[in-house]
Amino acid sequence: MTPRLSLRGVTRHFGTVTALDGVSLDVAAGEFLALLGGSGSGKSTLLRVVAGFEAADSGSVHLDGADLAGVPPHRRPVNMMFQSYALFPHMNVTANIAYGLKREGRPRAEIAERVAQAIAMLRLEGMESRRPDALSGGQRQRVALARALVKRPRLLLLDEPLGALDANLRERTGFELRAIQRESGAAFVMVTHDQSEALALADRVAVMDRGRLVQLGAPREVYDRPATRFVAEFLGAANVLEGRSTGGGALECPAAACILRPAAPLPEGATAIALRPERIRLGPAIGDNTAAGTVEEAAFRGESSLLLVRLAGGALLRVSHAEEDGAPPERGTPVRVSWDADAVVPLLG
């Protein structure tokens, strides 16, 4: 089956800066993909290339098999929801939502019907004649979404769709976004710098770093098996430990003063592993995958506490201590930490 969106080797330079460096990925019809990365990772540039606001220096962008090179933004069957929402300030909610349908030259009755549907779907009833400056942040976000969705795009691009919302509104709106995506059947490509947003909403997460796509996979896969040091640290702030191969499929780590033994033998050439804070236990253990240290800091975080444990070899380990496991040790307490072999994830770069 032809993918909805297909990128091949998309590269874009701004002066001497490489914003996109040979990005290739496919998005299936009806899929929700999150482009996750920090600022300067190229994720927003990628979105603007697909929308047609930036041209790729090289590489190709295909939508349902059709090459989009040279197609101006207004002729692309792709719509974008802007981070600032970019609502038209001189038009009310209805006119904002109807704008795209009017440009298609749809009959008046059809426009009215589809706008009413979009208003119902996004719970904007009663707001029809308000201007954007008379709406709350959450309402504006929904108008922006309605304005893009009412065109029934084959692909909807969302630039930090939840970024401008309050924390308490973000979770609920995220679930709504997910439901709307399933309901509309459109493929969604969402740019975000928030890893929990990407993991919670997307079918697949594409992690970007300095213009490159560094890992692409299902949220759990990307979280549990980060491919590189960047992904491990960016998603869930994993501990990264370096060492030398013991030759026996394990890694000897002087900074942790222990042997790190993954479930499957360590791949050739790997010199670092990732270890998630929540996979580390306190308590005595023997053999490999255990180390001794001292609690240096303890921070209460609600459902868990974050401990910073200074290991005998000098490394500082982030350990997540669940509340249900009892009160966390005080600062200065000597502890032993251990973890399962499958928590040790070899990194390949």
Binding site: A51, F53, P72, P73, H74, R75, V78, N79, M80, F82, S84, A86, L87, F88, P89, H90, Y99, G100, R103, E104, R147, A148, K151
Partner: protein, 278 residues
């Protein structure tokens, strides 16, 4: 002390605006007389003189002068606007050239007003640069009548008032969100349609302000029509001058000034409303 501070602007307003205005209003109701000043106030014995204002309403000479002045001011403001819209938007979007271009628009203010008018005369007169060039190229043998025409007058007016039109458009254009046009294009609008349906409507208050900012002072303009315009043009500024200094009929001249002010009060109020709205 604070009360006294607040009195100071009131004092200046009273001295520089209210008092002259009251004096002109008084003169409009006075009688022409021999002497210095050449008018007799209502309390000198003859009472209020209603003839000056009546004359304006009845004599087509004065009425036409007022109407023609408004027409010239309207044409000047319209031409200025036509130039100011692309200029204002382009300067607002010029990135690092913005300050340089803005300074260029304001540059004429740095040279004397009369020198600039003199330059136009030097360009436009029969032996001026333009006619000399046309003759040197062999395109004409008779000099084209350029100076002392309506065209020369409008050229001078537009040149003098253009910065007043560019500045409000520029200021409004800098406040526009460039993403809005992109959003419109993303929703299927051609760039032209995006400009007409998104950018232009947002600039409308500033366009009205720019128009009025030119129209209001241009309606009373005296020097430019006098130096560049046709000799027979009877604009209100010229009629005022003639009544004051040639006929020495201060009461009629004052009545004319009051009439012009009355005609401009509507646009002035409109301009202030727009200023508050923006």
């Amino acid at each position: 002390m604070r009360f006294a501070l607040r009195l100071i602007p009131g004092f200046w307003l009273a001295l520089l605006v209210a008092a002259p205005l009251a004096l002109v209003g008084l003169m409009a109701l006075s009688w022409q007389a021999e002497g210095v000043p050449p008018y007799a106030p209502p309390w000198a014995g003859a009472g209020i003189n209603p003839d000056n204002l009546r004359l304006l309403a009845e004599d087509p000479y004065y009425r036409d002068a007022l109407l023609q002045s408004l027409a010239v001011a309207g044409a000047t403001a319209a031409l200025c606007l036509l130039l100011a819209v692309p200029m204002g938007i382009a300067i607002a979007r010029a990135g690092r050239w913005r300050e340089v271009l803005l300074a260029t628009v304001l540059l004429p203010f740095w040279t004397g007003f009369l020198i600039r008018i003199g330059a136009w005369i030097g360009l436009l007169r029969d032996e001026g640069w333009i006619n000399s060039l046309l003759r040197a190229l062999g395109w004409t043998d008779q000099p084209l009548p350029l100076l002392y025409t309506d065209g020369a007058m409008l050229l001078g007016m537009v040149h003098a008032y253009l910065p007043f039109a560019v500045l409000p458009v520029f200021a409004a254009a800098t406040r526009l969100d460039p993403l809005l046009e992109q959003a419109a294009e993303d929703l299927g609008a051609t760039p032209r349609r995006a400009f007409l349906s998104i950018t232009l409507p947002q600039l409308l208050p500033s366009l009205a302000a720019a128009f009025l900012l030119v129209f209001i002072p241009a309606a009373g303009e005296y020097v430019i029509p006098e130096l560049l315009g046709p000799p027979d043009a009877t604009l209100v500024g010229r009629v005022l001058f003639q009544e004051f200094f040639q006929s020495r009929d201060w009461p009629v001249a004052s009545a004319l000034a009051v009439a012009l002010l009355a005609l401009l009060i509507g646009p002035i109020i409109l301009f202030q409303r727009l200023g508050r709205a923006a």
